[in-house]
C-alpha cells in the first residue's frame, strides 16, 4: 500500500513566534515536524505494516530547503520525501498551497493521502479538503480511527457529539485528528538511516503547476494581540463569601 503523508515543518511552538511586516510567520532557522502531522506519519506506518508492504512518502512545502522536520518523519520510518521549495512560495495562501502539494502528490503512485486536520502554526484547516478536490479524491475528514478493507476505507469521523462512520473508495484523502494513534519515537537506527533516504527537492516550475498569484485572494490586513485575560474578582470573606461563590457557580450554570 502506497501512502502519501502531508507534513508541515513549522517554527518550534515552544519558542517565541514572530511575524514579518506583511503579517506572515517568520520561518527562519530550524523548523520542526508539526506535531499534528506526526499522527498522520504514525498511522501511515501502521497501515503500511498491516498491508504487508508499500511506501510511505512525505510531501512538504518549506522555505530555505529546510529538511529537519522531514528527517524526523523519515527517522520514524517513512521511505522517501518530496520537498517543494520556491522563493515565490513564502506567504502562499491555502489554495496555492493545496495546488502545489497536489502537484507534488501527483508525482507518486498512491492509494491513500493522509494529512492532519490543520497545521499548528496556521490553523487554516482547509488544505486537505482542497487537495482532495484538486485530485478528484473522496475526502474523509476528522478521522479518529481508520480501517482499510481491500479497496474500501472506513473511518470514524470525530464530531462534537461522538463520531460518524464514513466509508469511501481508495484512492482517497483522509485528515486525521491528534490522538488517532500514539506516534512512535524515532529510534537511533532510524535517525542514522534517515540521512540516506531519498529526499527530492523540487520547485513550482518542476511540478508544472500554475497558480494565480501566490497570495490568491487572501490578504491579512492587521494583526492584534489576543486580549489579556481579565483579572478575577477578589472577595474579602466576611463570613458570607460562600454565598457569592454559590451565586457565581449558579450564574455559570454549573450548579
Amino acid at each position: 500500500m502506497n501512502i502519501v503523508v502531508l507534513v508541515k515543518q513549522i517554527p518550534d511552538p515552544a519558542g517565541p513566534q514572530e511575524l514579518n511586516a506583511d503579517h506572515t510567520l517568520k520561518r527562519e532557522g530550524k523548523l520542526i515536524l508539526d506535531e499534528s502531522d506526526s499522527y498522520g506519519v504514525e498511522i501511515a506506518l501502521q497501515l503500511r505494516e498491516s498491508a504487508g508492504g508499500g511506501d510511505v512518502t512525505l510531501v512538504s512545502m518549506a522555505p530555505n530547503g529546510e529538511t529537519s522536520g522531514l528527517r524526523t518523519a523519515l527517522a520514524m520510518g517513512a521511505d522517501d520525501a518530496i520537498l517543494v521549495g520556491d522563493d515565490a512560495l513564502p506567504g502562499a495562501a491555502a489554495l496555492t498551497t493545496a495546488k502545489v502539494l497536489a502537484g507534488a502528490i501527483g508525482r507518486k503512485q498512491y492509494d491513500l493521502v493522509i494529512g492532519a486536520v490543520e497545521s499548528s502554526d496556521g490553523y487554516v484547516g482547509v488544505v486537505p479538503a482542497m487537495i482532495a478536490e484538486l485530485l478528484g479524491l473522496p475526502s474523509l475528514t476528522f478521522a479518529k480511527k481508520i480501517d482499510i478493507d481491500g479497496s474500501v476505507i472506513r473511518i470514524e469521523r470525530q464530531t462534537e457529539a461522538g463520531y460518524d462512520e464514513v466509508e469511501g473508495a481508495l484512492p482517497a484523502l483522509v485528515s486525521v485528528t491528534a490522538g488517532v494513534v500514539e506516534p512512535r519515537y524515532p529510534s537511533f537506527k532510524g535517525i542514522m538511516a534517515a540521512k540516506k533516504k531519498p529526499l527530492e527537492q523540487v520547485t513550482v516550475a518542476d511540478l508544472g503547476v500554475s497558480v494565480p498569484g501566490f497570495n490568491g485572494n487572501e490578504e491579512v490586513t492587521s494583526v492584534e494581540d489576543a486580549p489579556a485575560r481579565a483579572a478575577g474578582e477578589k472577595i474579602e470573606d466576611d463570613g458570607t463569601a460562600f454565598e457569592r461563590i454559590v451565586a457565581f457557580l449558579d450564574e455559570q450554570k454549573v450548579l
Binding site: 519515537y185 524515532p186 529510534s187 537511533f188 535517525i191 542514522m192 540521512k195
Partner: protein
C-alpha cells in the same frame, strides 16, 4: 579547526530529550523514591526500544557503535531529568566492558549492575547480571545468587546494595592485567558519563531557579532582580560553561585514544562535580524556604547531584589524578 557536534549527534540528543520529556517528568522521579524498584516504569523500556541501552556496543553485537562523543549528549539529557535508571552502569560501563572481554551481553531491556570499586552497587536487585571486580579477577555474577543488603542513599531513587558473594561465585571473565585495563577503561567511561549527567543536572537546577526567582516577588519586584541572587546564578552559569568543554574534550580523547584521556576524564569529572554542587547550593539558597520542602522538585535534582558528584570518583580524587599526571610529566 571547528569543534562541534554533528547533525546526527544533535538529532540523537533531541530524540532522547523528547522521549524523556514524556516518560520522565519530575513525578516519575518522585514515584521512584517510594516504589519497589527505585526505577521508572516506562522510560527504560522506551530507551531500550530507541536503542539507547545498547548504543555503545558495536553494530555486529546488536548495538549502534556509538562512541563517547555520540553518547555524551545523550547522558547529559538523562541527567537533566534525573532519570532513575542504570543507564551509566548498563549502556556505557557494563555492556561495552562485557563485550570487550568476549562475554554475552544481556539483551535490552535487561540491565547490568557493576561493582568495580569498594562501596555499593546501584540497582543490583533488578539487574540481569552483576559485574564485580573481586581482587584481580573480574566476575560476572547472577545477582539472585548473591546476598544483597539494601543501603541508605540520600537520593532514594538510587537503590544501593552491599553485595556479599560466596567465594568463587559466578564466572571469571578476566584476570590480571586484562581485567585491570578493562576496568580502568570502564571506570573512565563511568566517570565521563556521570560528568555529563552532572552538567545536565546543573543546567536543570539553574533553569528551575532562574524561573523561580523570576516569578517570586518580594517588595514589589521579582527576587531575581536583586544582585545577591543574580550574581550567585551567574556564578553557576560560569561554572557550567567552564566544565562543559572539559566533558566534551574528554569524550573526544576517549574516542581518539589520546594517551592523556584518563587525565582529561578526571578534569571533566572534577569540574562537573564542582559545578553541579555549586548549582545545588545556590539553587537551594535562591529558592529560600520552599527549596527545603519535600514537595518542591528541587531536592530530587539536588540529591541526585550530590550522589553523582561522589560516584565514579569524587572531585578531589580526580584532581589528585590530574596532579599526579602533572607531577609525573
Amino acid at each position: 579547526m571547528r569543534f562541534a557536534f554533528d547533525d546526527d549527534q544533535i538529532d540523537l540528543r533531541d530524540a532522547v530529550r523528547g522521549l524523556l520529556a514524556d516518560t520522565c517528568p519530575p513525578e516519575t522521579v518522585r514515584t521512584a523514591w517510594s516504589n519497589s524498584t527505585g526505577r521508572s516504569d516506562a522510560a527504560w523500556g522506551a530507551l531500550a526500544d530507541m536503542g539507547v541501552v545498547s548504543m555503545a556496543l558495536p553494530v555486529d553485537a546488536g548495538g549502534l557503535g556509538l562512541g563517547a562523543l555520540d553518547w555524551v549528549l545523550v547522558l547529559e539529557e538523562t541527567g537533566r531529568v534525573a532519570l532513575p535508571e542504570p543507564v551509566v552502569e548498563t549502556a556505557v560501563v557494563g555492556a561495552p566492558l562485557l563485550h570487550a572481554l568476549g562475554c554475552d551481553v544481556p539483551a535490552p531491556p535487561a540491565s547490568i549492575a557493576t561493582l568495580l570499586d569498594s562501596g555499593a552497587s546501584l540497582y543490583a536487585d533488578t539487574a540481569e547480571c552483576l559485574v564485580v571486580l573481586d581482587g584481580d579477577a573480574l566476575r560476572m555474577v547472577d545477582p539472585s545468587t548473591a546476598r544483597l543488603t539494601a543501603e541508605v542513599s540520600v537520593d532514594r531513587s538510587r537503590r544501593l546494595f552491599a553485595v556479599e558473594m560466596a567465594a568463587g561465585a559466578g564466572t571469571v571473565v578476566a584476570t590480571g592485567p586484562q581485567a585491570r585495563d578493562a576496568v580502568a577503561a570502564a571506570r573512565d567511561r563511568g566517570a565521563l558519563a556521570a560528568a555529563a549527567q552532572l552538567i545536565g543536572l546543573a543546567e536543570r537546577m539553574l533553569a528551575t531557579t532562574v524561573e523561580y526567582v523570576s516569578v517570586r516577588h518580594q517588595f514589589g519586584k521579582p527576587v531575581g532582580a536583586q544582585q545577591a541572587l543574580k550574581h550567585k546564578l551567574a556564578d553557576v552559569a560560569v561554572a557550567i560553561e567552564f566544565a562543559r568543554p572539559l566533558v566534551y574534550r574528554a569524550a573526544w580523547s576517549l574516542d581518539a585514544g589520546d594517551p592523556d584521556s584518563a587525565v582529561h576524564v578526571s578534569m571533566a569529572k572534577s569540574q562537573a562535580s564542582d559545578a553541579a554542587e555549586l548549582a545545588a547550593r545556590h539553587a537551594l539558597q535562591c529558592h529560600g524556604a520552599i527549596g527545603y520542602s519535600y514537595e518542591c522538585d528541587l531536592h530530587l535534582f539536588m540529591k541526585r547531584a550530590w550522589c553523582l558528584a561522589r560516584s565514579w570518583g569524587d572531585a578531589r580524587s580526580h584532581r589528585d589524578r590530574v596532579a599526579a599526571a602533572v607531577v609525573d610529566a
